[in-house]
């Protein structure tokens, strides 16, 4: 059975390592040529803000990892369209963000939905 993986990041960056470890899973699956996409929801949408300066809290920026997503073959970065408004003005212009109308319809397209 062929698999399709959707990884959901629903917590803000930097507060804990769950998002970073979710991204590691996504990049690892993509490296093995699996169909992979990311969905950012709730406080997770803040991952997509531009101009992040986490050096002040001695962390590495997550923007660089996301910018590499396309290079590693991730199919898309999804955001629920009603949540995109929260960051639209500040979204990282280097990222291609895909609004989705229904999370349920999106999840139905994947065999494996991973939400850590």
């Amino acid at each position: 059975m062929s698999r399709r993986y959707l990884f959901v990041i629903d917590r803000a960056p930097y507060g804990d390592w769950s998002g970073r470890e979710t991204l590691d899973m996504a990049l690892s699956a993509a490296a093995f040529d699996q169909p992979v996409a990311l969905l950012f929801a709730g406080p997770g949408v803040h991952w997509l803000r531009g101009g992040q300066l986490p050096k002040a809290i001695e962390q590495k920026t997550v923007s660089r990892n996301l910018a590499a997503a396309a290079i590693f073959g991730l199919e898309a970065l999804y955001v629920p369209e009603d949540e995109l408004e929260r960051i639209r003005a500040d979204a990282d212009e280097n990222l291609e963000i895909n609004p989705v109308a229904s999370i349920r319809d999106l999840e139905d397209q994947y065999t494996d939905v991973v939400r850590l």
Binding site: R3, R11, G15, S28, F32, V114
Partner: protein, 139 residues
Amino acid sequence: MAAEEAARFTLVITGAPYSSQAPQTALYFARAAVTAGHTIAQVFLYGDGVHLASSLASPPSDETDWPAEWRAFLGEHRIPATCCIASALRRGLLDESEAKRYAKPASNIAAPYQVAGLGDWLAATQDSTRTLYFNGGQS
């Protein structure tokens, strides 16, 4: 009525014992699945879940020793179990060879757990009918 087809489950545990109920819930699920004739193909510890692999956990004698319960279950049913190396190293969980490599004074991951990368998780998901994730609570 036809008998239900047996499933092959991979269980991913990302919540630590004693800070979440994830290892306990996963163990109850695994026991029920095996009793019902299903197979647990692989257990993968990831994120905070790697703490379950610690062979040094020493809870008080009137509390359940979840790491020991899991070790016994894995041994009894010969279920392969993997501890994600990146998650484990940053949290101070090392097997003997990693402890040597990083010149650390002790190790705390031992059989039945193997230390490996995310390739093992991916292969397990491909080899299973379903992969279930047991997470800690939201902080």
